[in-house]
Amino acid sequence: METTGAMAETPLLDIENLRVTFRTSHGTVEAVRGIGFTLGRERLGIVGESGSGKSQTGRAILGLTAGNGEIRADRLRFHGQDLMGFGQREWRAIRGKRISMVMQDPIYSLNPVMTVGRQIVEAYTTHHRVSPREAKEKTLEMLAAVKIRDPESVFGRYPHEVSGGMGQRIMIAMMLIPDPDLIIADEPTSALDVTVQLQVLAILDDLVRERGMGLIFISHDLSLVSSFCDRILVMYKGRIMEELKASELHRAKHPYTRGLLDCLPSLDGPKAPLRVLRRDPAWEIG
């Protein structure tokens, strides 16, 4: 119901025929091949195996495609604004402030030689003109919002002094502090243990709901995405195979989605051999 309400207003994102192509020494590689979707203030999951183009889709929305890559699209709009003609300056006004991204591994994506607190303060003061004291207060509030018990002590720590789960909560705090409209989370919890993973997702879930943000959740984990998101796009080799309501994943029709579901081992499943995915070359052709 929320989804239809959100779709009525201008969508946060409106994408039509997005293509991402890379020039390599072996010729051109098309990572994303003509996909389109719209996003409201909802949680959209993009699921696929490695090479499906799910991460490149997320990066293209933020203008983070690598230098040898080229983005083309009939439409790539954020809040009705055309992102296609953006230069570096215009991107900087959007990145972090309006759209931000939570990456997979906090150990690699946090700055190792800067305290956690300074990094979050920097994320905030880049987009808001406030006094240092105010920035620190806001940062401590944000650390508390991601359920860090002792924000003062964590503020002064370096990334290597925190656990993986706490590192990812710090990342979320840093990405949410400028109060963006859209969060792109690329495998945000894949490096974490299951219980910690769900705890981190609950924090993200609560904050995204409270602040009415849109969320794109990119993951290889079909069952996790279906339990977390409102809607799912299933990608394969750069194309969208199927779009589904998350609650109706079990009614998926596309043979690729069905194949992915069937090859998962189950907790109470038979010990018989798992079904193996048969890839149909027709899936790759538009």
Partner: protein, 256 residues
Amino acid sequence: MPMLEIEYLNVRFSDTPVLKDVGLAVPRNASFGLVGESGSGKSTVLRTVCGLVDDWDGTISVADRKLGAKRDLAFYRTTQMVFQDPYGSLHPRHTIHRILSEPVKVHRLGDTEARVAAALAQVGLDATFRFRYPHQLSGGQRQRVAIARALILEPQLVLLDEPTSALDVSIQAEILNLLQDLQQRLGLTYVVVSHDLAIVAHMCETVAIMNRGRVVETVATGALGDTASLSPYSRQLLVASKGYDRAAVDRFVDFE
């Protein structure tokens, strides 16, 4: 007699205890799962059995032989390990042929050509793979090579440390099927370490659930459905394995 029996195993990394009184028994031709979160010590159990950890006490017996401080060559003919990351466990500048023939040379088994060809066929790779390098292979093919390298010595006990966690689910299914098929054909005994309860439930008859260096409980995987009979730790792990449930997260507790 069990294929692998561990009693009161204690391991310390400098002053930090990593394993505390771990005990388990794996019957011949069985699959035994070790499940737990990171830091629970599950991989350390495997590493200790195969001689990669020096400072341990307790008793470990493999095929009715008690292990001492050093492992001899004969031990490695009975016990082999497959590591988690097929991107890191194969030498990047050795061909597949060299990777597979090295254990044959170390153990002076002779007949290298035939053994390498047979090992490749066993894991479903054709002979042309011999002259390739690891970077020319997909993740699934690399893990097949890692399995072939373990099996080329015709071991009885195979230790599998997260054998599919670096692979896509469709490739994971192929590797799990291959492992089950090999076990039946060759009469192997498996110890499977995984953070994924579903994989262990699928592969193994019995699972030991570990937390902070201890075995919390050992249960038949068929009994995992009956959550009421499980310890609180295992129950929470099981709930978490079933996907995101906002209300369930609030009931999570930290276990010491």
